[in-house]
Structures are given as C-alpha cells and as structure tokens.
Chain length 613, copies 2
C-alpha cells in the first residue's frame, strides 16, 4: 500500500473532524452508509490505486497510445487496471442504487477518486470522463437513453466522452460547425470534426458513448443554436445488443507533453467510412430539447471543472508526499551553525529553505483538497439537505466556487509540483523520479475544461454579478461566518480571522468598484488577477476552517505551537497549525497588490496595441 498518494490521516481529519461526513447518513439517501462503509470505500480505492494504477503510471507516459491500422494500441496495463476498477463498482459510487450505484455521499467518493488520480491521472481519466457523461445523461437523458447507455457505463462495459471543441472552435463554442440533420425516425445524422477529444478512441471498452455538440440546420447562430447528441461508436439495438459500427472515425491522436496515457483524438463524424445502413452521417440521438446543448453540457462541465481541480490537487498532493519522503532521506549539507565538514550531513528536510518548499506544498495541496471536498459536501447538500432553501444555497455557493475550484488547484498544485522537483534537486529533473511527470501531467489542468482566462471571465463576468450579486454575497457571508466563529474562538484563530475579514472586505470593495465603471471591458480587463486573488482568499478561508477544526479536536483555542512530541495526532495538528500560519503569512498577503491593482482600474493591457509587441 503506497503511502505517497494521499494522506489517510488528512482525509480522516477533513471528512470526520471537519466536514462531519458521517452526519450525512442521517439523511434517507445515505441511510445505508456509516463511517465504516466510508472507510471501506477509501481502503478499496487506495488499494486499487496503489496496486493497479500506480505501477504503470510511468509506462503509460513513456509508451503512449499509438494508431495502428486505424486502431488504438496501448500498453495492456491500462485495460487491466480499468477492468479491476470496473469490478469495484466505484464508478457508480455516488449514483442512485436504481442504476447500479452505491449512493455514497459525493464528499466521500471525491476523496476516494483522489487516490486513483494521484496514482495515475491518465488511466483514471477514462472512468472520469465516463462518469461525467453518465451523470449528464442521468440528469438530462430519457429513460430509454439511461437504460441503453448509462447502465453499461456504470457496469464498466461502455466508456464515455464529451465532444465540444473543433479545430476552429475551442474556447469559442459559438463557432462550432458540426451539423446534425434530422431523420424521419427521430434520430439525427451528424457531420463534422471534433478536436481534443479525450478518450475519443481506444479498445478499453465494448463501446464509446460520445456526447456531441452540434447544430440542427435552421437553428439560431452562436451558442443558442447548439444541441446535444448521443453518438455511440457502435450502434446499440433496442435489446442492448451491439450492432454496426457508427460513422465516427479516428483521424489521429494528439501528442501531448503529459497526460500521455489518455488518448486525445481528432474525430470525424459522418466522414463516410462506415455506413451502417448505406446512408451517410454518424447516427446521433438528441438529448432533451433542440438548442439546449450548451446548458446541458454545462451540467457536465461544472462537474468536470471541479474534477479538474480535484485531479490537479491529487497530482500536487502525491508530489508533495514524494518530495517529503525524499527530503527526509537525502543527506546533504549541514545546518548553518555547524560548518564542520567532519560531522555527518543532515537530511535536507533540516534546511529551512527545504522546509519552506515543503510547507508551501503542504499549504497548497491540503488547502486545495479541503476546497475540493468542501465542494463535494456542497453537492451533497444540494442533493439532500432537508430544507429546500439550504439546497438552493448550496447550489448557488457551488456555482460561485466552481471556477475557483477549477483554477486555483490547477495553478497552485502545479506550483507545488514545481517545488517538489526543486526539493529533489537534479534527481527531480530526471525521469527516474515521479515528480517531473506529475508536473508535466498537471500542466494540462489550467488549459482544459475552460482555460484559466475563461474561468476568470466566468467568475467576475458572470458568477459575481448573477442575480444581482446574490452568489457573491452568499460566498462572502459564508466566509464571514467562519471569521465570526474564529473571532469568538480567540487565540491564533482570531488573529487570522482579522486578516481574512479584511480580505473579504477587499473582495466586496473591488468587485463593486470594477462594476461601478459600467464598462465591462474595463471591469474584466484583469479578470485573471481577480480570479487569483479571490482564489487565495477562498483557500485562506479553507485554512481558517481547518484551524478551527484543529482547535475543536485538541480542545485548545490558544493557537500556540502544539507540542509535537511523540504523539502522532499532536504532530498532525501542529502541522495543520503551521501550514495555516504559513498560508496566512506567506500567501494571503500577496493578494494586497492584486486588489490594489484591480482597484486602480488598470488599463495597461487594454491600452496595449498589437503592433507595439
């Protein structure tokens, strides 16, 4: 059992000492569960990750999938691992029992999936894509579509994709041109090319269920004319039997810097290679109503965006644990006070600069994991809170947090991986150690499922203003509630609360000031900086929450450094306190310069002209 994927002690803290996940079992949906079943699922996920996913992580990188006679060939360990995973039933961890799921709380399944992503993010991507696809169809598909496509996905027989981008339309979905022509039987025929389709072709499953955005001729231009279709690789009969090959053709694989084990494809729909019934076009089935494709896809996108943040977190977390293990065993140099070259060298964890790099990683990855699980908890609230008002509030808060939970870990857990390499020194730059691959793999996360800049426009341009700013108000109130609790707690928590309270005021003031301009171009000119500053405040909030949980667990509100003596729990809590301190001392103050710049309505990027570069 690998101990360098995620920390079980940290998960225990987050799930049981902070988020009180077992309390969810009081609700009917989760009544069959208990802390014991949660732990069993975590055990299972950790074991599968360590025994079946981690061992081929490097091989999946060095021997990436290739196209061979029109078919995708890859190392056999991927399918072997995914078959084991399918056997666990974990894909349906949070789904209804009625479709073969386990009905676990999301907060628990998110923690469990973290092990798989930490162990091998590119093999884990196949079930993750499938999960997002299945959840969308569960929410928006017909009963027949669920029976035909979702059940086999839950069983692990079918895998899923999402097909949005086209070569000329990535961030700009308004510009997709794939068209779907209605047929007499109610189905459609699709024609077009889709780019960047992860898991778009392989032989890991019996079938691949593509969810494809396309235009029905005659619809409105732009995003308002996009519809969503199920396009299976292999047609499925009414009895569930596999039929003829649909006209979905692999044009080629993209060759990436990382995440190499996940096929990333260029697909042609309706090219004419396969004609199951002699007629042209890829057979597709409309999901829901026409022209609702974007809204439907966002159901999946929001989930996928939090999933991206979770994946980034998992990669950051395992890199942190690996660099910590390295720092504890690598002897190099001596403390400053002792220059005597005849005394033995010390492990590098003894050097303050190495401790700085480890503390930074710890504060990033544990902060990010707290945020990811907090979102999982909100999903559970949204689904099961007894009071509908609580559900609505959870939904709104989750909406606010989605761009942050996508982007913050993608930026800072990548930074953690950079520090993990640095802790390893020259060794970290070699392919003999895992951390360089984690860094390469993690670099995808600020790009896919909406780039960093897209998330920034989403947060400041849409989420912060929707419903007259109701979402932003709710976020700030929720953070302020933590600040109030910490004030009362006294001690160090109260100190940090003052700092966080001031940061909350800055978010409110800056947002007001930006939108008071009445000029969207000016307000949004530095949206990325806004996203980053707000993200840091949100993660500071996650750290204050954790500090309060530590106070509660130790009965000590005094905030002083706990004695780290022999007791493992005491050391764990002391580490949490120190990481919280680190974040408030080293990280949160960085936001001041960002808020200042935003408050100044800076025009530098707006005024820059193309010809001046």
């Amino acid at each position: 059992m690998s101990s360098t994927l995620l920390s079980r002690r940290d998960l225990r803290f987050l799930l049981y000492e902070w988020l009180d996940a077992p309390r969810l079992t009081e609700r009917p949906r989760y009544a069959e569960h208990s802390r014991e079943t949660f732990d069993d699922v975590l055990d299972l996920a950790e074991r599968v990750a360590a025994e079946h996913f981690a061992p081929h992580n490097r091989a999946a990188d060095t021997s990436e999938p290739v196209v061979d006679g029109g078919r995708v060939r890859m190392i056999p360990q991927v399918k072997a691992a995914l078959d084991v995973f399918a056997g666990t039933g974990l894909l349906g961890a949070s789904m209804d029992e009625s479709v073969g799921g386990m009905q676990l709380p999301h907060v628990v399944s998110a923690a469990a999936f973290g092990f798989l992503q930490a162990a091998n993010v590119s093999t884990a991507a196949y079930p993750f894509l499938t999960l997002g696809n299945a959840n969308l169809l569960l929410a928006r598909g017909s009963a027949a579509q669920v029976d035909t496509f979702v059940r086999p996905m839950v069983e692990g027989r079918f895998f899923g994709t999402m097909c949005l981008s086209e070569p000329q339309a990535g961030s700009s979905l308004a510009d997709i041109t794939t068209r779907a022509e209605p047929q007499d039987d109610g189905s459609h025929r699709l024609f077009g090319t889709k780019m960047w389709i992860s898991g778009g072709d392989h032989e890991l499953a019996e079938n691949i269920v593509h969810l494809v955005l396309a235009r029905i001729p005659g619809g409105p231009p732009g995003v308002k004319g996009i519809s969503l279709f199920i396009v299976p690789k292999v047609l499925v009969g009414p009895d569930g039997a596999l039929g003829a090959r649909n006209d979905v053709v692999l044009v080629g694989l993209n060759h990436k810097m990382g995440y190499r084990g996940t096929t990333n494809t260029l697909l042609n729909f309706g090219e004419g290679v396969h004609r199951p019934d002699g007629r042209p076009g890829a057979v597709g089935y409309l999901v829901g109503e026409p022209h609702q494709g974007l809204a439907q896809m966002f159901h999946m996108m929001n989930e996928a965006r939090i999933g991206v943040g979770a994946g980034a977190t998992a990669l950051g977390y395992t890199g942190y644990l690996k660099s910590l293990a390295y720092a504890r065993q690598r002897p190099q140099g001596r403390p400053l006070a002792d220059k005597d070259p005849t005394v033995p060298q010390v492990p590098i964890v003894a050097h303050p600069d190495v401790r700085r790099m480890l503390l930074a990683q710890k504060s990033y990855v544990e902060g990010a994991l707290a945020l990811v699980l907090y979102c999982g908890r909100l999903l559970d609230e949204e689904k099961t809170a007894p009071d509908p008002a609580d559900r609505a509030r959870a939904h709104l808060l989750l909406d606010m947090l989605t761009p942050i939970t996508k982007s913050w870990p993608s930026q800072w857990c990548l930074a953690a991986n950079d520090l993990a390499i640095q802790v390893h020194g020259g060794y970290g730059y070699t392919r003999d150690y895992d951390v360089e691959q984690h860094w390469r793999d993690n670099r995808l996360n600020p790009i896919h499922e909406g780039t960093h800049g897209i998330q920034a426009l989403d947060l400041l341009g849409r989420k912060a203003t929707m419903d007259g700013g109701a979402g932003l108000s709710l976020l700030l109130e929720t953070i302020s509630a933590t600040v109030s609790r910490a004030w009362k707690a006294d001690g160090e928590a109260a100190e940090l609360a003052a700092q966080l309270g001031a940061a909350v005021d800055r978010i409110a003031g800056t947002t007001r000031r930006l939108w008071a301009t009445g000029d969207p171009a000016l307000a949004l000119a530095n949206a990325s900086l806004y996203l980053e500053a707000v993200g840091h405040v949100v993660v500071a909030w996650m750290w204050l929450e954790q500090l309060l949980a530590v106070d509660a667990a130790t009965g000590a509100a005094a905030g002083g450094a706990a004695d780290g003596g022999g007791d493992a729990d005491a050391a764990f809590y002391a580490g949490k306190r120190q990481a919280a301190r680190y974040f408030f001392r080293f990280e949160l103050p960085r936001t001041t310069a960002r808020f200042d710049l935003l408050d100044g309505l800076d025009r530098t990027t707006l005024d820059m002209r193309d010809e001046w570069f």
Copy 2:
C-alpha cells in the same frame, strides 16, 4: 532566417541605444572593432542558429543520446551543427587574439550566443561548457596547459566539462570524496565518481577536457581541501598528439525531462578500465596550487551562473516570440462588446487576457535580457575600464548581480514559457509546438550551477555582507543613480523613479533588519524570498533604464503612450514604454508583501518540525 529566436530590433536598442557598446571600441582591447563588426557577428550567430541549431532542436529532444557498447550515440545533426559553429570561430568571440580569439566585447558575444541558446539550448550547451572551461584555464592554468588544452578548445577540436558534483555531494561540495594521489612526475592519479556531468561523454570532438574537483590526501577537510585538476579523456602528448585513453569511464547517462540533447553523465575516474601505462588511476594535472580548487572553480561558476541566466532568458525570449506569432494568427472568439456570432472571430491577441500574458512575457524576457547584457557590459568594464577603480567597481557590482542574474531569469523566463504554453491553449500542450519543450528545457535552470536556494544564501549570506556591505551599497547606489536621472527626466520616468526609490530603501532597510538580529539562522531563514524580492527590484531598475533610453531616443520625456502609428520605431518604443509600465504596475508591487514578511523576521519555516509534516 528565423525571426522567433531573439528580436534584432531589441538587441539594437539594448546594445546601441542603451549600453552604447560601440563606445567600447575606443579602448585598445576592442580597437579593431566597430558597430559594423558587432552587427556582422550578430548576423553570423543568428544565421548559424536558425540554419544549423534550430532545425534539430526537436529531434535532439525526441531522440536523446544513448549508450551503445560503451559509446555515446546521438543524432548526427548535433555534430554537424557544432562543426559549423567551430568553423565560425565564435567560441573565442571574447578571447584574446593571442589564443585565437576575436577580442569582441562580452556584451556583444553574450547577445550573439543568445541566438544559439534560443535555437537549441541542448546543442549550444557543448560549446558553452567548453567556453567556461577554457576561460578558467586561461585565467588559472599554466602557459603549457593553455597551449595543450585551451587552443584545441578554441579551435573546436576539444570540448570541456566541469566535474564538481558526486552522488553524495551536490550542493554540498564540502563532501566530495574523489581523491587525487600525487605521482613522482608531478601529475596526479584520480579515483572517484562524478555525477551530473554535462557533456561528460560523446564523440562530438577529438577529446574531452574534464576539470575535476578532488582531494589530495592529507589536505584539510571540507572545502578547504579541494584542488582542481585537468583530466583529459584522451591523454595528450607534449607535441599535442593524442595518446592513450585515460581512465575516465562512462557509467551511464541520466534521463532528463528536458535539455535532452546534452548528455548528462555519471563518470568513474580511476576505475581501472583503461590503464594507459599499466598503473591505476585517471591521469590528472593540478591547476595552480593545491587546495585552491573551490576558488578556482568559482571563476568558472560565476561565468556559468550568468550563462545559466542567459540561457533561461533565451528560452523565455523565443517562447515569447512564438506565442506572439501564434496569438496574431489564431482566430478565436470576439471582443466583449461584440457577441454577434455571425461576425468573424478575431485573432486572440485582441483579447486583454492574452495581451496580459504577452506583456508579462515581454516584461520578463526583455527585462532579463537587459540584465544579462548589463552584466556583459560590466565584464567589459572589469576587463578594460581605463581607471582601476572603475574596474574594481564593475567587479564588485558583477559579484552582487551574479546570483540574481542566475536566478531571476531561471524563475521568470520559466514563468514566461508557462504563459507561452497558455497563450497556445491546447496546442501549446502538444509536441507539435515548440513551447512545451522550451518549458521543459528551462526547468533545469533553477537547479543546476547552484540551486535557487543556494543563490539566495549566496546573495543574502555572502554578497550582501561582504566587505562590510560594500557590494550591496554599490548596487543600491547604482540603482539610485538611475532613480536620480529619472527624477530629473520628469514625466512617467519620474513617477516610476519614485516607486523604484522606495523599493531601494526597502532593500536597505530589510537587509539591515535581518542582519541586526545577529542570528544567521534567523536572518537567512527566508533568504529565497529576499533573492526574489531583490531580483524584482533589480529588473524594475533595468526597465527604468530602458525607459530612459527610450526617452533619449524619442526626445520625449513625457512618458505618455507614444503614437504607435505606422512607424516601426515609434511602435517599438511604445511597446518598451508599455512593458515598463506593466512591470512597475503588475510586478514591482508584489515585492511589498515579501519585504514585509522579511521585516517581520518570520520564523514559520524555522519553527516547523520534521515530524509535523
């Protein structure tokens, strides 16, 4: 001729409109030269880079060197390019004519070499290592050693390495154990293992001249007992003829994430595989006096450290130009004001967030290049200033700037490469575009030739305190002189000067406060943050210097945005102004939080205990 390596317009500005390089030709050493010969050398370097280095940059990455029957095999383009390079005589660009050099100013040769590093950093590494080696021997070797080893290096027949690290001793040179046993004939025999030796074995040259740190038995422990030896791969007779194979054995190649075309080796000395005269040990020749190895190696190290900064800058620069070219031709989305999906998409350079990413890159890479060339200019001053006091001052200032010039570009031009990927979106994450390789290649730079943390200790622990703080005072006075000039210039320069002046005060105050503790462990606890903050101030200084040069060139001290109209020069100057603004508005304010933290004598990393992680 590639236009995406470095900008010739920028070089013209830096060399001729700012640093006034042609003025150096008034000095005897450079009297043979003129602006025309400078331009010829830049033309030559750019052509060789574009035609012989750039074309195999990707191939050198995908087909890295392998060991085959004990010999290193690599793609033939590397040797072909290096043969062309040797034919240009550029290796000796700044060397004395007496040893076959061109006696060009360093500021010019540094600019010329930038093209090679931008085109193909891993092929360029071979001559760069050779250059550092040759310069060390020119400074510290005997006349016979220069004749035997340096001349063939200048001719491109021999290549050089530096062999410092051992598996158990990387950052901690006090712990090297390779031993050198004196022989009756005055030579030594070496026994030991050296790790991370770049260019340590290959068949690109007739011979490889290793410069090796080793201990002569009986010497003092630690760094005081280290001596420097020449250990050629093949022995060289008094007549210069190649003789028997010396006992230097390739144990293996390291497999890196980037910089893959440069062999990086584990070498055994005196393993007993080759015994030229039947006796054990690798034949080595002492350079200078015994036990002076560390000081001698630092002659090379200082040059190498500035070279690392130059290489990082070149990679950042070419990535910037490539992402700019991409942003100008990739259509995606529409301006905020125009959501009509029926109008054509705009090139992404039109989006403010993309302009932000390009401006950030521009400010990093042009700021870094200014710093690198400023250091080149200081080298020329150190060597040729008529007044010895000026030489001493240049030496001291260069000493101060060395850790910054090594680290700042390694951090921020890597950040530039990250942004270059982001500008490319998903395409930037594929190996079809250059930027992902630049990012991987550049990641080495914060590690080798002394890690980021080592540079930080050097700056704050040694350079800032040496000679009673004389070096730091000189640096701050020199920056202050620019501030004073800018004050008088009025307009925007005066505004930025106020900001820079305040930052200079903070450096002075923070340094005083840290050392007033009298506690080196406390003073140095956050040395990396000090390095980063001082680095940002130094680069802000470089930007104010450039702004003043723009003012001088345009006759306008008014600092307002110049009209970017049709005139290429006007657009160039407007771009410099905007990049300077960007740096002062977006970057320099980041240092406040860092200086605040340092002033607070923060103990977070010191107090953290190993068992709390």
